[in-house]
């Protein structure tokens, strides 16, 4: 009798411990997710009821040029950021890792600092740096291309520049992951290699790179997911323009829902983005688990 009583008490205590998180999760994640699916089959506005329209929103999506433009721009942005930032972060991490003590800490801090800034601070600083009239970078652009360029009003320049700003902002995080990965490599491996007369390059190719691969995979996939969700920088620096040349999926969700009041259609776009990111996340999880298993 007391056993059963005790067990019931144990379960109640456990329930009370997990309840706060689970209740909020159900309220702000689960319920909106279900609601989003339901809303995507209606023609409802953002606030208020709509009529069931079946797959109409998805049909409309498949014939919406803006959707393909957004998809293409998301892809372009991924190409511009993911691999470059990974390589750059690796190079910086290798450079910092050879230093020691105070100097190492200072260098790391300088490269990491931008990562902890709010996005709007980053975009304001760079809008000033790249200002058409007074920007400090404009003389450099003029030197390279022959004339100053209004980068956020030029369809060819806007995405590469947003990518550059994003890399500047987030690269410190990747540097940190690589440094953690480098520190996890046992020092005696390098000592043994040195005794065998291995060159710097041999050490990198035979020891550092293979042992760093799990971290590299982590950085690549984290970046991929992160850059799929881009909104803030594009919205703040170019509003998706000029001529939709920096229009991305999340911006489309925002426009349709909050500016054009198409709750149903916005939900359909959001659901596509949601599924896209979930698929990449699950792939990442599997990839990292496989990598972890091999280690």
């Amino acid at each position: 009798m007391t056993m059963i009583h005790n067990r019931r008490r144990h379960y109640l205590v456990a329930a009370s411990l997990v309840a706060p998180f689970m209740v909020i999760l159900a309220l702000v994640f689960l319920y909106p997710a279900i609601r989003m699916v339901a809303l995507s089959f209606t023609n409802g506005p953002l606030i208020g009821a709509g009529d069931w329209v079946g797959l109409d929103n998805y049909r409309r999506l498949l014939s919406d040029n803006l959707f393909y433009t957004s998809l293409k721009n998301n892809g372009y942005f991924i190409v511009l950021t993911v691999l470059p930032t990974t390589l750059l972060a690796l190079a910086i991490a290798l450079m910092i890792n050879r230093l020691s003590g105070r100097l190492q800490a200072t260098m790391l801090a300088l490269f990491f600092l931008p990562y902890i800034l709010p996005v709007s601070v980053v975009t304001q600083i760079w809008s000033w740096m790249l200002d058409f009239q007074f920007g400090i970078v404009q003389p450099l652009l003029a030197f390279i291309t022959g004339k100053p360029i209004p980068v956020f009003r030029n369809p060819h320049w806007v995405m590469p520049m947003v990518a550059l700003v994003t890399i500047w902002w987030t690269n410190g995080f990747n540097v940190l992951l690589f440094i953690a990965g480098l520190r996890n490599i046992p020092v005696d491996l390098f000592e043994a290699a040195s005794l065998d007369g291995a060159s710097r390059r041999q050490k990198f190719c035979r020891i550092t790179w293979p042992l760093l691969w799990p971290v590299t995979a982590l950085v690549l996939t984290l970046q991929l997911i992160l850059q799929l969700k881009i909104f803030d920088q594009v919205y703040l620096m170019s509003q998706g323009g000029p001529f939709n040349s920096s229009y991305v999926l999340l911006l489309m969700v925002y426009r349709e829902a909050f500016q054009l009041n198409n709750g149903g259609y916005a939900s359909a776009v959001a659901l596509v983005l949601f599924v896209l990111i979930m698929v990449v996340s699950v792939l990442q999880f599997q990839l990292l688990r496989l990598g972890g298993g091999k280690r």
Binding site: F21, P118, Q124, W126, L250
Partner: protein, 276 residues
């Protein structure tokens, strides 16, 4: 070490330092700009070096914008988010790590799955929910969707799993329950990780842009990252003030990072799973 090796090393160090200086240049330039007068900022003969120490842009920013209000909104919401995320996270992690009950594994899978959910794709219906709860344009509306930080649970669980079982026994023999265990044994043993997680949660909450931007529509309710984007529109571009505002907005997190540098880097590494 041979002589060429030494020269090579010195060169590499010099390159590293040059790259770091280049990397931090935008922040340096923002600082230099913010300390100049508006006229000097756009004049032809303003060079790269700091040549003025003019605080008028800062005074202008503090007294002629709603910066102080936004500061208060940001501090209050970020602190509440941090507190609730840490407390709810450690409680959930303790139950998942140390207690046995039906559905435990399923709950852990739910936590892991929620880790992958892109909250940005849920904003439309989150907004509708906040409207139903009448929380649009309120602190609670800013806070609620930001309370789900599953990585806190995942990290706490790892650390609680690693606590040796003997630590429990003394408390259990004294008749202490699970709450006593959590707050008297498991938490004090993991004070370091609590600090680290709290700092990084605070920085994340402070920097959040997208959700506060959507759920707030009056200037008086804006958080810092949202508010500073308004400064531009209202008065036309004044670069020195713009940079002063940006630097003031970044100051709390920048200071938090510089003071707790080791803890922050540790937290970033642990919460992304490369160390721990």
């Amino acid at each position: 070490m041979t002589r060429t090796r030494k020269i090579e090393n010195a060169c590499l160090t010099a390159i590293t330092m040059a790259a770091a200086v280049l990397w931090i240049f935008p922040l340096y330039w923002a600082l230099v700009t913010s300390l100049r007068s508006e006229d000097h900022v756009v004049s032809r003969n303003a060079g790269l070096l700091p040549d003025q120490f003019n605080l008028s842009a800062y005074i202008d920013a503090i007294f002629n914008t709603q910066l102080v209000t936004w500061y208060i909104n940001s501090i209050v919401t970020a602190l509440i988010i941090t507190l609730l995320v840490i407390v709810s996270g450690m409680m959930c992690a303790y139950a998942l790590s140390q207690m046995r009950f039906p559905g435990r594994r399923l709950l852990y899978v739910v936590v892991l799955a929620s880790f992958m959910v892109p909250s940005q794709a849920l904003v439309v219906t989150q907004f509708i929910l906040m409207d139903q709860l009448d929380l649009i344009d309120s602190w609670a509306g800013i806070i609620l969707p930001q309370l789900i930080v599953p990585v806190v649970i995942i990290v706490y669980k790892q650390f609680f799993d690693a606590v040796p079982g003997e630590m429990r026994e003394a408390v259990v023999l004294d008749g202490g329950g699970d709450y006593t265990l959590l707050f008297r044994v498991y938490l004090p043993l993991n004070r370091g990780i609590t600090t680290a997680l709290a700092i990084i949660t605070f920085i994340m909450a402070w920097n959040q842009f997208f959700w506060p931007f959507l759920v707030v529509n009056s200037e008086a309710m804006m958080t810092i990252p949202v508010g500073i984007t308004q400064v531009n529109d209202a008065f036309g571009v004044r670069y020195a003030r713009l940079m002063a505002v940006a630097l003031l907005a970044a100051m709390p997190v920048a200071l938090a990072y510089l003071i707790f540098q080791r803890r922050v880097t540790e937290a970033v590494m642990i919460s992304s799973g490369v160390k721990g």
